[in-house]
């Protein structure tokens, strides 16, 4: 194996987390930084001609190539897993920018109690309120400590929205149930597609508190603190699963890459498939760098003083397991930490509504819409609901395209092909819309990741195995949400409504969200976590793990702003403290 010249920092993964760290280290220090990205290189202007539903939204051109590596899944430990041979429940991206290129750019924050879930829940309801077999944890940080970093993220992205709580002052029209914000959003809310406007008015009439969905597809031109300018969203509707054709959507390629490319001390190597983190064993315990297969197929060793894992939930976890760093979690004994706390946001279409009038659904953006969070708040009395925590309801005008949207029909239509089906599907094509619900997923001892004993990637390494299923808490939560969404749909004037039939077993074929978390979680102690809240590995202090893999349980909110807030905090701690005195930060 060839050894390359040593660098100060190597970052595995060129998505949101990895490129933000590269930008911070690159622009604020003189450290030499190398980003290793497995997928292709990419620039924001590549997207001018990508508005092709078939290649991008159906054949999923921007996602990871599963022919070389996928994950396996089983519902519980009593049987063997099978590989997920095609994309379904989640869509990890590939290439520079990662999933941050094809996202819908929804940018809510997590609720304050999320970060102290174990202690807050126990204090409020007693330890017996937590379901049997849970693995709920405190994160080792409070919302108040994280808030300044959230605000930096909103300024980076130029987030559009209406604040509902600025320093404790509640503001009508914003989300009054969320944690305090130190400032208003940098840009005002986006425009409102028709269906979302119907939802807003109906929710209000029923006494809920709808607010504009926070969006990083920005409502108007904005220049961020790094001097990056972009124009406002044009509601073309080609958003999630696409890169933004006009650059209004916040993406690593338009916010971070231009700065990185100007810095001589940072380089991005594409086609670099990292296989192992190499480390000095005890008593020295330090990461030495990473080995990877480069674009020409040659295996090389990249030594580095600092190692960052920033390669999405699955690969962060898998690289620790393959490298033998830390003890794999064993649900039978409760020993070990790597691979524990696998969670997936509970995201369901609670009510699919059919209208008499056309909705013009081709116009929209990935987060143009309205939400209400009356059942997604820390002060809700949950003792009578039969489940813990909650979620928010939403109607978004994502921008719908016909291959995916055609053929969604009221349950009363039985035909699935032929003349009757076609006639109904043509009629309902632009008269159909969904009220969604996104809820928290508690961590359980039985939901975890480890290495699969049977299936391998094209390089011969074992695939990551997910053991994952829903439990009563999630099923009851989804069940609770359905009649509420149906009531709202009725108030919107829907002529027919399909209620969500309920969560059964974890279904890898229905798109849920790309918000899978856990595996290398943060916490207060090395006994039950992999990293501290500075995302620093407990045993190897020069190894940092960035991304949703560090989240102990899944919030109702979409994770990107929280991921980025933690990256900012870690970057500050490294630059201000670690570089002067290398060692544990927590």
């Amino acid at each position: 194996m060839k050894t390359l010249p040593a660098v100060d920092a190597v970052i595995v993964g060129g998505g949101w987390a990895g490129l933000l760290m590269a930008k911070e280290l690159g622009a604020r220090t003189f450290l030499s930084v190398v980003v290793l990205e497995r997928g292709p290189s990419r620039q924001s202007y590549d997207y001018a001609t990508d508005m092709d539903e078939l290649d991008y939204a159906i054949r999923l051109r921007m996602m990871q190539d599963l022919s070389s590596e996928t994950v396996t899944l089983r519902h519980d430990a009593s049987r063997g897993a099978v590989p997920l041979r095609q994309h379904g429940a989640f869509l990890p991206g590939a290439g520079v920018g990662g999933s941050g290129e094809h996202w819908n750019a929804q940018v809510p924050r997590f609720l304050p109690d999320s970060f102290e879930l174990l202690s807050k829940t126990t204090a409020r309801y007693g330890a017996s309120a937590l379901p049997e077999g849970h693995a709920v944890r405190d994160w080792g940080i409070t919302y108040d400590e994280l808030e300044p970093y959230y605000t930096r993220v909103d300024k980076l992205l130029g987030s559009s929205g209406q604040a509902g709580n600025v320093r404790g002052k509640l503001i009508d029209g914003g989300n009054i149930f969320e944690g305090w914000r130190s400032e208003q959003y940098p840009t005002p809310p986006t425009k409102v597609p028709y269906f979302a406007a119907l939802f807003r008015d109906a929710a209000k009439s029923l006494g809920y508190h709808p607010y504009p969905a926070p969006s990083a597809n920005i409502s108007r031109a904005y220049t961020n603190p790094d001097g990056i300018s972009r124009g406002g969203c044009t509601y073309c509707g080609f958003c999630g699963r696409f890169g933004c054709m006009v650059g209004a959507k916040a993406q690593p390629t338009n916010l971070l890459l231009p700065i990185i490319q100007k810095r001589k001390n940072v380089s991005v190597r594409t086609g670099a498939w990292v296989r192992r983190i190499l480390f000095e064993p005890a008593p020295k315990f330090a990461a030495r760098g990473v080995s990877y297969v480069d674009a020409r197929g040659e295996e090389v060793f990249q030594p580095a003083s600092l190692v960052f894992l920033a390669s999405w939930t699955f690969n962060n976890t898998r690289l620790l397991l393959l490298s033998g760093i830390g003890e794999p979690y064993d649900p039978a004994t409760g020993r070990g930490t790597v691979g524990s706390n696998l969670t997936h946001q509970v995201s369901v279409p609670s009510a699919t509504a059919f209208f008499d009038q056309p909705l013009n659904r081709f116009m929209g953006a990935g987060s143009a819409g309205f939400l209400f969070s009356d059942y997604d708040r820390d002060d809700l009395d949950r003792s009578s609901l039969g489940f813990l925590r909650g979620g928010y309801f939403g109607a978004r005008g994502y921008g719908f395209q016909p291959i995916a949207a055609f053929g969604v029909l009221p349950d009363s239509v039985k035909a699935t092909w032929g003349a009757d089906w076609k006639k109904a599907a043509v009629f309902f094509y632009d008269r159909t819309a969904t009220i969604g619900f996104a809820g928290e997923h508690l961590a359980y001892k039985t939901n975890l990741m480890d290495l699969d004993p049977v299936y391998k990637d094209t390089l011969g390494d074992p695939l990551l195995r997910l053991t994952l299923n829903w439990r009563d808490n999630e099923r009851k939560m989804a069940e609770f949400a359905t009649p509420i969404a149906v009531r709202v749909a009725r108030a919107m004037g829907a002529r027919e409504i399909n209620p969500f039939p309920g969560l059964r077993s974890y279904d890898a074929t229905r798109y849920n969200s790309t918000h899978i978390q856990g595996g290398t979680i943060m916490g207060n102690s090395p006994a039950d976590s992999v990293v501290s809240s500075y995302l620093q590995h407990w045993q190897l202090p020069n190894l940092f793990i960035l991304g949703g893999s560090t989240f102990p349980q899944n919030a109702s909110a979409n994770p990107t702003p929280t991921i980025l807030a933690f990256v900012y905090r870690t970057a500050d701690a490294i630059i201000d403290r670690y570089l002067k005195h290398p060692g544990p930060l927590a």
Binding site: D52, V82, L84, K422
Partner: protein, 219 residues
């Protein structure tokens, strides 16, 4: 080297000429004369006729508007099967192949090409049957992987960008009121609440002026 196959379409069956107004009345703007011979990339001529006939029963041409025949769905499917999709370029296809419940997704080893080849063998002579007999034959295979694929690919061929060989003349988009890619709906997104907004469809090439290459045309 396989023998060259062509799908011959007559003017009466070729799309690209129907325009739908807002009240969904079809208007024939112009007719093309003479048959058109389209070279096939994967299917044989007989297979293409069976695919075209089956797609036409799934998505018929009738008083509710044009269907798979006018959109050129068979041409679309032929190109998809010839390209990376048809040979499962992006699917995890390593053994062992185990049976698993539906929630784990398709676990078979057969590629779309193999599924079609085998499925079409079971439909020999299908294109020569009466529409009623064709529906009967399709009902018998309704629960197969082949039929699910054929149905999904028919929808794709109805509504894809014309760059892929389906949705000829954008008949699929006109049928449902989809305008194709538009650079901006900024002025319109809040203007047409409750009213249909139906700009004339334009394809990706017409909108961007760029010659994007579809995946199936790439090596």
């Amino acid at each position: 080297m396989r023998r060259r196959h062509f799908l011959t379409l007559s003017a009466a069956t070729l799309g690209g000429v129907l325009v739908y107004s807002l009240d969904r009345k079809a208007a024939l703007l112009s007719a093309q004369h003479g048959p058109v011979r389209i070279p096939l990339r994967f299917l044989t001529e007989t297979e293409a006729h069976i695919v075209a006939a089956a797609a036409s029963r799934i998505f018929p041409s009738d008083d509710s508007g044009p269907g798979a025949r006018e959109a050129g769905v068979a041409v679309f499917i032929d190109r998809q099967l010839a390209g990376s999709y048809g040979r499962d370029r992006y699917r995890y296809t390593q053994p062992p192949f185990e049976d698993a419940p539906r929630e784990f997704g398709y676990q078979g080893s057969a590629t779309p090409r193999q599924i079609y080849r085998k499925g079409l063998k079971g439909l020999e002579g299908f294109h020569l049957l009466s529409p009623t007999a064709q529906d009967e034959a399709l009902r018998k295979i309704e629960s197969t992987v082949f039929f699910a694929l054929l149905r999904q690919n028919t929808i794709e061929g109805m509504f894809c960008d014309p760059i892929h060989g389906g949705n000829a003349g954008m008949v699929g988009w006109q049928l449902v009121g989809f305008p194709g890619p538009r650079m901006s709906n900024l002025e319109e997104v809040e203007k047409y609440y409750g009213q249909p907004f139906r700009p004339k469809p334009r394809s990706l090439r017409q909108t961007t002026g760029a010659k994007a290459r579809p995946t199936e045309d790439q090596p």
